[in-house]
Each structure stands twice: as C-alpha cells, then as structure tokens.
Amino acid sequence: MILRTAGLSLRLLRLGGRPALTSAGLVGAGIAVGTVLLAVAFGAIHGWGAREDRSGWRTEEPVRAAAAPVALLRTTPDIVAGRAMDRVDLAALQPGLAPPPGLPRVPAPGEVWVSPALAALMRQLPADALAERFPAPAGLIGDSGLRGPDELVAITGRTPDELSGTGTPVAAIGAVGPSGIEIYRQLTYVAAALLVFPVASLLGASARLTAARRAERLATMRLLGASAGQVTVAAVTEVTAIATCAAVIGVVGQWLLAPALAAIPLGGGVWFAGDLQPGPGTVAGIVGGVAVLATFAALGGMRQVVVGPLGVVRRQRAGGARLLRLLGVAAALAIFAAVNGMLRASPVAVVGLVFAVGVLAMFGTVSLIGPLVVRLLGTRMTRSARSPAALLAGRRLLDDPKGAFRPLAGLTLAVFVAGFIAPLTAVLSGADAGDDTALRVAAAPGTVTDLDAAVRERLAQRGIAADVVLADVGGDPGLEVTPVLPADRDRVRTALDPLVPDPVRTAGEADLDGSTLVGDLERGAIVVLAGTFLIAATATGTAAAARVLDHRRTLRLLRLAGTPLDVLDAARRAETLRPLLLVGGIALGLGLLCASPFTAATGALQPSGLVVLGTTVVAGIATVAAAAAASRPLLRSVTTAPAHED
C-alpha cells in the first residue's frame, strides 16, 4: 500500500506539467548546491587522510621503533625557489625491506629519487641553484608516494653510518607519524561544522518550497478517502525522491568540480583530484543523509497544514517563537563556555572536533534566537506600521516568525561565520614572518671558524658575491650569509649543501610552515565564507520563491483587487531586510564571541577584519536584494496569471 501511494505521488509529480517540474527543479537545485558543499567538506577531510596515507611515513617526527628497527629515517625541510622541499634520507637496516610508497625499491646508498615537480624544477633552474644538490637522480617518485602533484621531495638512500645519530629508527616504513596535516584536518572539521547549519537550513528551505502545492494535492487525495498516513507518505515521497536525485547530482557535481578544487593550494601544495573525491561509502552516506534531512524538513512543513477528512485544507496558525527558546540559547552558550574551557586541555587530535562542537552550539544559538527576534520585531513593526507594506510585513513576521526567519537563516549564519573569521584574518595578516634576507648556517660546536673559511672558499669558487658574518643561529654560533644578488640565494644554498647537514634558510624561510599555514587559513576562510554565502544566496532565493509560490493565490487575488505590485514588493523587502539587519547584528556578535578563544574581538576592527565585515554586509544585503529581484518575475507571473487558469 505504501509503495502504491508513493508511486501515485511520483506519477502526480510527473504529470503535474511545467509548474510542478519548475517547483521540483527549484527544490532540486537548492538541495544539489547544499550537497555539493557538504561533499566538498567531506572531500577535504578525505583528502587530508589520503595525503597522510601516502606521505605520513616521512614526517619530521617519524614513529620511533620501540624495538627491532628496520630502517633509519631523517626528513629535513629545505627550500628552493621560495618553495618548501622535503629531503628524506633513508638507510635500510635489514635486507628485503618493503619499499617506501611511490618507489619500486628501497634506494641504495647514494641513490636519489625525486618527485616529478622537483625534477621539472631541476631542469628549469641552473644546475648550481638546485640540480647539484641531487646529482643523477635514479628515477621519479610515483604519485602513490606524494602529498600532491606539485610536491617537491627527494628521497636519498644512505648507509646506516651516515644516519647514525641523526636518523630516527623506525619499525616500519609505512607507519604514519604526527605531521602538520593534523592541524589542517582539525581546521577542516571546524570548517565543515561552519557549513553544516547553513546547508541544513538550505535543505529545509528547499524541501518546503512546494509545501503549498503538495497541500492542495493532498486535500484532493484526502477527499478521495486516503488516510492521514497515506497522505503523509505521498507528501514525503515527492520530496525524498527529488532530494535523492538532487543529492546524486550534487555528489556528481562535486566529483566533476574536484579537479578545479584540487588547484586550490592548501597544506603547502595543490591536490590530486582523486583525493578530494570521497569514497563510495561516504558518497552513499551523503546522499542518504541529505534525503533523510529533506524528508524530515518536508514532514516539518506538513505540520503546518492539516488536511481534514473532507479534504479541507486549513492553514494552522504557525507556531510562534516561544520564549522557551531562551532556555535553549542559555544551554548552547553554556556548552560553548564549557568547550572554551576544554580547548586548552584537549589533545591536538581532537581540538578541532571539540571546537566544532562549540561552533555548532553557537550556530544553535543563532538559529534559536533568530525567530524570537523576528517575532519581537514583527510586534514592533505591526504596532508602528503606517503604510500597507509595513503593516503586511509586520503581520507576516508576527504570524510566522519561524517561516520568516527561514529565508534569512542562511545569511544570518554567513554573517556569524564572517564575525568568527574577521578578527582571525586580522591576526593572521599581522603575523610577523621574520627576517628574509640573511641565510643562516648552523655550525657544529667549535667549528664556526673553520666553517666560515670553508663557506667563503666555496662561494668564491662559484663566483657568488655575498656578505658572510658570524651570528647567533638558534642559540649557537653560526654564520649569516647575505648574497649581494637576492637571485643567488638558491646558488648559495646549493654551494653550501655539502658543508652542513642542516638546511640553509633565512629566519622567514625557517617559518615557512607557519606562513604557509597563515596563507592557508586565509584561503580557507575565503573558501568557507564563499561557500556559506553561496548556500545563503541559494537558500534566500529558494525561500523567497517558496513564499511567493505558497501565497500565489492570495497574492494574485490581491493584485486583481487593485493592490499594486510595488506594495507587495515593498512588504517583501521590509520583511527580509529589517530582520536581517537585526538578527545579522546579533549573529555578528556571537561570531566575534566564538573567535574569542583565539583573539580579541577588536581584531575585527583592523583593516583586514573590516574588509571581511564590510564585504559580508554588502554581500548580505546584495544577496537579499538579488533574491527579491530574482523572485520578482515569479511574483509578477503568479499575480498576472491568465484568468482561465483558475
């Protein structure tokens, strides 16, 4: 019976003609966009895992063998052409050792394997700037051993004696050690949490888009004797079917977008497209989760319409936003405070997840408080309304604060995200990267004089003009070498390579990981903000269209009875812009509060913070205006539909 009812529902959708397909298309588009962004977040988490699987064995802190080591391993960061490069030295302690990922065999002592990007750079740069550091490479490291296609890495075989004292004994080549990837993974959890609520609000808005049309159809079914259960099945079948199709389109869309997304450098390089494409299990989970969320949203929408046995559709007064929500707000704030307290004590592997809980709690606060604020605003607007448009807007806000907040939820949450990110970007852009002119050369204890002479000799042999001075390098005596021509920096590095085991870098280059992280955070913030606004714009547009479609008969009759389109439009503007400004202000404050564990809210007043906030305000208002403008043709169309359609 359920299947038959579901089949009938789908048949009605198929036979519903252009209006039904248009509505279904709008629902599907909203859900597909939300799914793409969810899949992007899951793809990024998958990507970090894939990178770690391939390269986690050669971190700077490999897993030390408790007993019976099979190899000695040393990874040294180096620099070329301003880019980070890993130099991995590996000495097998046992015969028959399994080769490292990406290599056909364990490199013999003296044998060098380089990544394709490094090989290309070696061909591109003068030999004395790079290639001399890795004479005669034996071959290229395969993709299965690289973080990404542009990674610069060289793996050199060594004898155990060469790595004695500096290499770490490891029990297996594939063991994944702690790496910089972990912090990225944790940040991605936070980013995913920042996207979850806006995506859920988009799904909700989309699933409710066709609520009014479904209600009319369900009324007819009820009149024909369908039970309340059958009516519910029929109602959710349509949304679930559309949501499932849209979710599939969304994951396919993300899959197709993966090559473009892979070009966004994060964690020191770009990605293999396949890394950003989540596995079949995750994809199935995303599609199933979206379908279930949309179904629940449809069921929520159904609660507003009671279809009596005689098929009479009576619009129930929507549930008001009760003050009880304040209890929820208090609980959410308490959760955030607790999370804030736990952050410092949390191990790095879970800090992102812990903070994500705090972010979700703050999102919950925004979602709970939004309808309440809309209700209060509606009361005030209704009392003070002088014009028909203001009265209409105020009454609509008061009549259904949750429904009125729904189109704004995505944008409000986007403002929250901006409030969270603005002070952080200010901190990041103000970070001091350190001196970037003098190359620092560390000397072994008691050898600095000899080193000074050797360095001067090597530079003279190669005709490189540079100032060489004794200096403190990391607390020990050493040298600072400043090439007269900045372009000679890589030549200096290559010249001095045989003299010292440690990398020859400037103070700024030594903090390259830090500055890479800062750059990544800024890029990540832009990606999250852009994603949030994309969701918000879609949700706002979808919800604006849904409201017009839901009330199309009344709007049409009002227009026929002489209500100018401008009045209806002005009412729509007032019922979106005014709540947005008010709730957006609150969300901004909560976003700043959310960033407080990391930086003071006043950071948002720094130029880069103000740029983020200003862009957000402009983008928010533009989004609402665009959504209203986009649905204006729909409003015109439904209010001037030909007479014979009724």
Partner: protein
C-alpha cells in the same frame, strides 16, 4: 432595480484572445448604479474573461470599456490597478483574504492603499462588521473564520472604499446553498443601499434568477436573458 441615469460601467464589442483561442467575440454589457446583473454561461464560455476585461485586469484586443465617462481599457497597467483599488470592488470564490492579517485589517487594507491613515482605516473598516453580522470577529484571522464569515469579510473589503462597481466571481461557489443565499441577499442589499453596481458571475441558476438582470455568454458573445422573477430581498429594500 434602481438604475441611475446612465450605466456606471459599459463594455462594447469586447474581443479577447488567449494565443490562438478567441475567448470573447464581441461581448456587450452595461451595469447601472445599484443594479445587480448576473453573468451566466457554460464553463469556458468566457465569463471570467469578460469580468476581467470589464474590471481592467485584462486589456481587450478590441472593443471599449467605459467607467462612467472615462474609457479605461487603454489605460496603463498601473493606472488600471489603482482604479481597481479605489473605484472597483471584488469578491472571489475563496482564498482572497491575507492569512496574516486580522479580519479588520483585511478590510482596512484598500483604504490604507488609498492613503487613509491606519487608525482611521481600521475604524472605518470596523464599522462594517456589525451590519454584516461579524461583530466581535474583527481580530480573528481568516483561518479562524468559517467560509461564510470569510466571504462576508471579503464583501466588507469590496465595499469599504465605496466603489462604483463590485464584481463577484462565483461568490457562493464554496458555500452551502443556504449560506450562499443569505450572502447574496446581503451583497445585493448593500449594493442597492450604496448605489453600487454589482456584477455576479455565477453558475447557480437560482442566484441568477434573482438578480435584476441576467446576461448569458455563449461562445464569447453576450445575450440578455431577462429580468429577475424574484429579486433578492435586500435588493428591494
């Protein structure tokens, strides 16, 4: 019937097409002050299209529409919309009230659109509730009213701005016959008292028979049928 000197509304030779389909093929119609005219005809004959052309909702492809001494069919969309808000009233079958507004504000809306201040508009709107048997329901929302009550609120809204003509498109279509009968008596009585011309599009032969005059439309052309055998009680008052 209490007709004035000349028709308050007059349509002459109205033709209208929807794409390749010609719906009206030269329809004529006139309504006088206080007169109740029924428009009948089979489904698809063009009743609603004629009503929409007369009310300035649609622009006829040919023919003329006059409201008093003004020819309105060539007016701009905005001007015709303003005309409908002030000089023409509407009662539809159902679903015409804004669900968010209390009944009294639904009635006050046309006055506010015409520039009347809110307090005055609401006061004037409330004065219609007693005569229409709606006293005490001013603050109810449409969803809290019965079908008959909703239609009476719609009648108040149609008449509150003292229009010259009211168009009622199947106003009793969603009501039981007794409620529908009472509603029509009320509407006709109010129209007669205020001198408003009333055009009723109806399928109900009983309703049509009690109007001052019936115009039948068939294949896009109008034909007068006759005068009422038993006019509405209110209309005689």
């Amino acid at each position: 019937m209490s007709a004035g000197d000349g028709p308050v509304l007059r349509g002459v030779g109205i033709m209208h097409r929807f794409g390749a389909t010609t719906v009206l093929r030269g329809a004529d119609m006139a309504v006088h002050r206080g007169e109740v005219v029924a428009v009948t005809g089979p489904s698809g004959s063009g009743k609603s299209t004629l009503l929409h052309c007369l009310a300035g909702i649609l622009q006829p492809d040919e023919g003329e529409v006059w409201l008093g001494a003004e020819r309105i069919d060539r007016w701009s969309e905005a001007r015709r919309t303003a005309l409908r808000g002030s000089r023409i009233g509407f009662v539809f079958q159902f679903g015409q009230l804004l669900p968010e507004l209390p009944a009294v504000e639904n009635v006050a809306l046309p006055l506010m659109l015409g520039g009347v201040r809110r307090a005055a508009a609401v006061e004037q709107a409330a004065s219609w509730f007693g005569p229409l048997g709606l006293a005490g329901l001013e603050g109810r929302r449409p969803g809290q009213l019965s079908g008959g009550q909703e239609q009476r609120v719609a009648i108040a809204r149609a008449l509150v701005s003292a229009p010259e003509v009211v168009f009622a498109d199947e106003p009793t279509g969603a009501l039981d016959s007794e409620t529908g009968q009472r509603l029509m008596e009320l509407l006709a009585g109010l129209a007669a008292r205020t001198g408003t011309g009333l055009v009723v599009v109806t399928h109900d032969a009983e309703v049509a028979a009690r109007c001052d005059r019936t115009v039948t439309i068939r294949d896009g052309r109008t034909a007068p049928v006759g005068v009422a055998a038993a006019p509405f009680a209110g209309a005689e008052a």
